[in-house]
């Protein structure tokens, strides 16, 4: 049986999509594992601990979780969390917001990207 050109294209597209979805799932799983091992000492998704909760972080104004005691510097920062601001924050929080309290750095760009991808999905 010969497939038409359009059918072959559709199958190829499906295979690429499936491969992308698998790779994406692997990235998110890597981000989850990194989150647990690198951030889990102080943070969780749904509870304030040493640091504030992270659920629905993307689009949130920095220093705005009700009831959490932030540094004055972060409260006054006017930062909104997105991929760009999180990248800068995780690379060197003191450089982004002098006077912040986290001070924890994630030195590898690939690790920061995986963590940000994970936070985007939660």
């Amino acid at each position: 049986m010969r497939l038409s050109a359009s059918a072959r294209s559709a199958i190829a597209l499906l295979l690429v999509s499936a491969a992308c979805a698998t790779a994406r799932a692997a990235d998110v799983e890597r981000g989850r594992a990194l989150y647990e091992s690198r951030c889990g000492g102080c943070h969780s998704l749904d509870q304030d601990r040493i640091g504030p909760r992270h659920r629905d972080l993307i689009g949130r104004k920095a220093g705005s979780v009700a009831g959490f005691e932030y540094s004055q510097a972060l409260r006054a920062s006017r930062i909104v969390w997105n991929a760009e601001t999180l990248e800068a924050w995780l690379a060197d929080p003191e450089r982004l917001v002098p006077g912040q309290r986290m001070n924890y750095r994630v030195p590898e760009a690939a690790d920061r990207a995986a963590l940000i991808d994970y936070l985007k999905t939660n």
Binding site: S37, Q47, R105, E108
Partner: protein, 189 residues
């Protein structure tokens, strides 16, 4: 009653493994309070985050011990690890005060129980998994803040604290039957 006995035992066994005086000596911190500069204030902020971690760890082990789910010899190990965290707490509080800072205070245990979702704990394995997660997170947290310390002596102390947490994680992982990391340099990247 059993919980009360365990709690009393844990309190009595809270022997500092690294005395505050020793910590101060190692860190090269003067034994008097002085006005903080901005670099000292930053170090104090880092130490206070570490102190928050230690408060949480102490309460996590307390919750585990009081649950009645831990059996010997796991209970003995949990008590030992809790005593290490109490030693860390005491040393951190002393150093923060010597730097002119104000140590963060421990919260009520109910707050730690809520934050750690203690209500979902049903077995010894659940407690060990929680403890292992916290110890791994603490180890990486200490390693991750080392570059931020202004005082290199405090950075060294953070590394020593990370070593204790890693020791705890390794022991807990062994009891849980989890494999050791296959790759080198798996901590603190």
């Amino acid at each position: 009653m059993q919980s009360l006995k365990r709690r009393t035992f844990l309190t009595a066994s809270g022997v500092a493994t690294l005395s505050a005086a020793t910590f101060g000596l190692i860190a090269g911190v003067p034994g008097r309070a002085f006005a903080m500069g901005s670099t000292q204030a930053r170090d104090v902020d880092i130490l206070n985050v570490a102190l928050g971690l230690e408060h949480e760890a102490i309460n996590a082990y307390q919750l585990g011990a009081q649950s009645g789910l831990l059996q010997k010899p796991v209970l003995d190990a949990a008590v030992l690890f809790q005593s290490h965290h109490k030693g860390h707490r005491d040393a951190l509080m002393s150093t923060i005060e010597k730097l002119g800072g104000r140590p963060v205070m421990e919260k009520p245990m109910a707050e730690y129980a809520k934050a750690l979702n203690a209500g979902s704990i049903k077995s010894q394995e659940d407690i060990l998994n929680l403890a292992a997660r916290l110890e791994l997170g603490a180890s990486n947290a200490y390693l991750g803040v080392i570059p931020a310390f202004q005082d290199v002596n405090l950075a060294k102390v953070a590394a020593r604290l990370a070593a204790d947490e890693t020791m705890h994680w390794t022991a807990l992982s062994s009891v849980l039957g989890k494999p050791l990391p296959g790759a080198p340099l798996s901590f603190g990247a």
